[in-house]
């Protein structure tokens, strides 16, 4: 006791300022420990939606032109003259349109993954960006759907894929993986839109109470009369919980079913039993990178977002990207190994064609951007927290994942069991149409960022109320209360 009493006066002057520094550092670092009053956060989010600089409208105008030319004009042209202006041929009947479909479904995966899985597992860092990720899901699925329709020879008859009552008594063919795919994507689009909408209701009500004019009318309709009573919250929480759990199997099944379009076919390189999980991991690989890219852009361009989205969030996403990259490498190796090992003549020719064919550079680039780049860069905390570096890594990973789908679809289709028919694939109208889908995605996202609160204020506040800094002796400790 005597020793302690004697030492205390000496220790006190030194430890006190550093403890305060530590606390201030914690608050600066973690959004959850840096609470602001609800009213202030509401105002910040409203301001971020309503503040629009001239640059925004310039970019919007450019995107509108790009969408009008690349998407509307070229698609219209393709519908009116046929798929001849695309690059598909025999035997490469599926081209970049399906590459884009798989790519955009992959992008859309991460939204649900980030939002639902992290919500179910109560990962606190998810709170400020669940909405941004869910929006990505919905708009990504729009691009995926458009790409499927572009791919069809007679798109005006696409409704025949629906099981609708008709005078011929005809059903769609439920044996076909494409029918499963069609139903799975529709289910996913519907459920992810509802899942986007449910947590949005309190924020729409918040926006309704703080806006005037057309916004007020819009939010009043969308908020469904939400007033924030205890009963409403109970119902909403129940529904959100239900959806968070229910949408996870839907998410996993969608990309598995997309992979079955290939795995169920009897083609060398396609009929692989590991394709299901391989595609799911591939989807997360590109999707998480896309979430990181979107967050970096949102943080850099929208007002007040630097408060909500901090380096800690980029750090957490960077770690997830690294883990998923490792998982992807494992599944890639698994798929490759089993295909190589089985020694089938045609598979062997195909694997050689991937590596040594005219598009071999794509195969190596895929491995380099998907494995080497994330593994070398994302180990480092400073790199993960640097928006520019993380953006570049995310971009490269997305390029690599697009390459991966390109290798699986048109490159693999070059090789079949009749060497007489081997051909190469030269994309044609696919290029403007691909640019058009990217432009439409960005455009939809930008417009949505004007009318949808990109940060779920209630969710952030809920987290901030649960988190607190407490002192245990001289130590400042982060405590989290269990909310449920």
């Amino acid at each position: 006791m005597a020793v302690l009493a004697n030492s205390a006066p000496h220790a006190q002057p030194h430890s006190h300022p550093t403890e305060q520094d530590h606390e201030a550092h914690l608050r600066e670092e973690h959004l959850m420990l840096d609470p602001r009053p609800r009213g202030e956060m509401n105002a910040m989010v409203m301001e971020s939606m309503q503040t629009t600089s001239w640059k925004f409208w310039v970019v919007t105008a450019i995107l509108v032109v790009v969408v009008a030319v690349c998407l509307v004009y070229y698609w219209g042209l393709m519908i009116s003259v046929g798929l001849g202006i695309a690059g598909v041929n025999r035997p490469i009947y599926w081209g970049i349109f399906l590459v884009n479909t798989v790519f955009w479904i992959g992008i859309s995966h991460a939204g649900t993954f980030v939002s639902a899985l992290l919500r179910v597992f109560k990962a606190e860092f998810r709170r400020p960006f669940t909405r941004a990720a869910e929006l990505m899901t919905t708009f990504g699925l729009v691009q995926a759907g458009l790409s499927i329709f572009m791919h069809m020879g007679r798109v005006w008859l696409a409704y025949w894929l629906f099981p609708y009552p008709n005078e011929r008594g005809l059903w769609p063919n439920f044996h076909s993986p494409l029918s499963w795919d069609f139903l799975a994507i529709n289910t996913y689009l519907l459920s992810s839109t509802m899942y986007l909408f449910l947590p949005l209701i309190p924020d729409l009500a918040m926006a309704r109470d703080r806006s005037t004019g057309w916004r007020k009318v819009l939010y009043r309709v969308l908020a469904l009369g939400f007033r924030g009573t205890e009963g409403e919250w109970t119902h909403l929480r129940f529904a959100m919980n239900l959806f968070a759990f229910a949408i996870l199997p839907v998410m996993f099944s969608v990309h598995t079913i997309v992979s079955w379009d290939f795995a169920a076919a009897m083609r060398p390189g396609w009929s692989s039993t590991i394709f299901g999980p391989y595609f799911v991991i591939g989807a997360l690989q590109s999707g998480l990178s896309a979430v990181a890219m979107v967050l970096i852009v949102v943080r850099g361009t929208m007002k007040n977002m630097k408060y909500f989205i901090r380096p800690e969030h980029l750090d957490a996403l960077g770690k997830l990207m690294l883990i998923i990259s490792m998982a992807w490498a494992y599944f890639f190796f698994n798929d490759y190994m089993v295909q190589w090992y089985n020694g089938d003549k045609w598979t062997d020719i195909l694997l050689r064609f991937h590596e040594e064919g005219p598009l071999g550079w794509m195969w190596y680039a895929m491995l380099f951007f998907n494995i080497v780049v994330p593994w070398l860069v994302l180990w480092n905390k400073n790199f993960r927290r640097n928006p520019t570096i993380l953006f570049i890594v995310g971009f490269l990973v997305n390029v690599a994942m697009w390459f991966e789908r390109y290798i699986i679809i048109p490159t693999s289709l070059s090789i079949n069991r009749f060497p007489f028919t081997y051909q190469f694939y030269k994309p044609n109208v696919e290029i403007p149409l691909s640019i058009g889908t990217v432009a439409l995605f960005v455009l939809l996202y930008m417009l949505a960022s004007r009318i949808i609160p990109l940060v779920p204020v209630w969710e952030v506040q809920e987290g901030q109320m649960a988190h607190s800094l407490r002192k245990y002796g001289k130590e400042t400790v982060v405590t989290v209360r269990d909310l449920d």
Binding site: G153, V155, M266
Partner: protein, 251 residues
């Protein structure tokens, strides 16, 4: 509503010898392409032009495969091999079509392509191991006087749909109708598809596979007979008689 006669699972599909079949003797095939031309005439196949044809969009329902390697005079060449739809008894193209455009006919045991129903997903073409399905990438020109030679028994297809060899099903039906009106069975050799009719070497023989005495059945039992990619268990209805010099060689 009529009871649908659609097999529920693949395992239920009967393994039968088939009804209509073909035997192609590669020993006598000269690779003259008469079958290709006759098929195009009979079935209203459009001419896609040089550019599209070179890019792999030729719409022929039958093609003569011939590959070689080495420099002249040391050239190792394969036989001429006419490849057409094998009318598989267990066809990979059928289950993958989402709208039942690619269906199995129970009465003729052939793979049918319902042009009106096709929406152009091209899944069937990807899943066909023989690469015999072709797609209408454009509405190709049919300049005068070509429309005058269109066969009225065969649909003219538009852009955006798949098509493939039908074993000249219009001729099969004609033969069956004639036989029925005369109260007898179809005689062997009565139904001849355009390719077999045009073949100057008589390499292509068509007929009933369920009749063991028919010419096609006897040829199919020849020791030289092979099926294409038989290990895929697609039950093709076309038998290829290998050249004598390659007899016993596979691949």
């Amino acid at each position: 509503m009529a009871k649908h006669n659609i097999p529920e699972v693949k395992a239920n599909w009967d393994i039968t010898p088939g009804i209509w079949g073909m035997s192609i003797d590669m020993d006598v095939c000269t690779g003259c392409q008469a079958c290709v031309a006759a098929c195009a005439m009979e079935n209203n196949i459009t001419f896609v032009g040089e550019t599209d044809s070179g890019y792999g969009r030729a719409m022929h329902w039958i093609r003569i495969e011939h590959t070689w390697e080495g420099e002249y005079p040391d050239v190792a060449a394969t036989s001429f091999q006419p490849v057409l739809c094998q009318q598989c008894g267990n066809a990979p193209c059928e289950p993958v079509c989402p709208v039942f455009a690619s269906v199995h006919s129970q009465s003729e045991d052939l793979n049918l392509q319902v042009y009106n129903r096709c929406v152009g997903t091209r899944y069937c073409a990807n899943n066909c191991p023989y690469q015999v399905r072709v797609f209408n990438f454009r509405d190709y020109d049919r300049p005068e006087p070509l429309p005058n030679q269109l066969n009225p028994d065969v649909t003219v297809r538009r852009r955006g749909i798949m098509e493939k060899c039908t074993f000249c099903i219009q001729r099969i039906h004609k033969g069956q109708d004639l036989a029925e009106s005369e109260g007898r069975d179809v005689r062997d050799g009565e139904v001849v598809p355009a390719c077999a009719q045009a073949c100057p070497a008589d390499a292509i023989v068509f007929g009933r596979l369920d009749d063991p005495e028919s010419r096609v059945s006897i040829m199919a039992k020849n020791g030289r007979g092979v099926k294409l990619l038989e290990d895929l268990d697609t039950l093709p209805r076309v038998t290829y008689l290998q050249e004598e010099k390659t007899h016993g060689r596979t691949g």
